[in-house]
């Protein structure tokens, strides 16, 4: 029954929830840092950088792939993992740009006020 609960839980998660959940773990952030330094790595290469079992690294990579933060592609006989920064950019565009807009409009208003009183 606990399995059913977890399925429902994940179904109700939005794209943003999945990204934040994936980022809320130091090992997963470390994996992203490693891919940022050098992209397109195999599981074996990533595993050698962490003090963790192959299964543990696979589990973390899977969560990162579910969130779209890592994309894996076949290259010949190996599978390479790439950092996909787009989901973080989408969060930036949705949240941070709003703050910038306010700042810009506040400055624009200040300019108008100063020019009117001048």
């Amino acid at each position: 029954m606990t399995c059913d609960h977890s399925v429902t839980y994940y179904q109700n998660m939005t794209d943003d929830d999945v990204v934040f959940r994936a980022l809320a773990d130091p090992t997963r952030r470390l994996l992203l840092d490693r891919l940022f330094e050098r992209d397109g790595r195999t599981l074996t290469e990533l595993e050698s950088q962490l003090e963790m079992t192959r299964f543990g690294v696979m589990k973390h990579l899977h969560i990162l792939e579910e969130a779209g933060l890592v994309v894996s592609r076949k290259a010949g006989r190996s599978r390479l993992h790439y950092l996909n920064p787009v989901p973080i950019r989408l969060i930036h565009d949705r949240w941070i740009d709003k703050y910038n807009e306010h700042r810009v409009s506040a400055l624009a208003e200040l300019k108008t006020q100063l020019e009117e009183t001048a």
Binding site: D15, D33, F36, E37, R38, D39, G40, G68, V71, R73, Y82, L83, N84, P85, V86, R89, L90, D93, D97, E101
Partner: protein
């Protein structure tokens, strides 16, 4: 603090868009769409070429299309014509792949063969994120990113 220690000679960007593959295809191959999210550039695919024009109709780029399979796959050369230093670098390659997954389109952009083009490799990363975010917003809301 993490720094880039090597040139990323293959860059992969992926985004899910609530639109059909045909809509995504039109958005990446027709100038009336591209000008609304691709830095204002009017992109047209014609006669085996990918022609880019600026807002005034000036020619900004002319790259060879090496594979075209609507609405699934488009492969073309890439030259960063807007920057003189990047423009001198050898051409790299851009692959657009569109797959339908549970009623949404998964768009993957692979920019590779960047071995001889380190300035382009460093220069395009932020651009691709902005372009893809803008493309998603345009297709899902009908409005470009502000």
């Amino acid at each position: 603090m993490t720094t880039i220690t090597e040139i990323q000679t293959t860059q992969v960007y992926q985004i899910f868009i609530k639109a059909t593959p045909e809509q995504v295809w039109d958005a990446i191959t027709k100038p009336e769409f591209t000008e609304r999210y691709f830095h204002g550039v009017r992109v047209e695919i014609a006669g085996g070429r990918r022609i880019s024009r600026g807002p005034d109709g000036d020619a900004w780029g002319d790259e060879a299309v090496t594979e075209i399979d609507p609405p699934r796959r488009l492969v073309h050369e890439w030259r960063s014509a807007w920057d003189p230093e990047m423009a001198e670098e050898p051409a790299s390659r851009v692959t657009w792949e569109i797959e339908e997954q549970d009623g949404v389109s998964m768009l993957t952009v692979v920019h590779d063969q960047l071995e001889g083009a380190p300035k382009t490799a460093a220069g395009v990363a932020g651009g691709w994120m902005r372009v893809l975010s803008g493309l998603k917003t345009l297709l899902e809301t009908g409005e470009p990113l502000s």
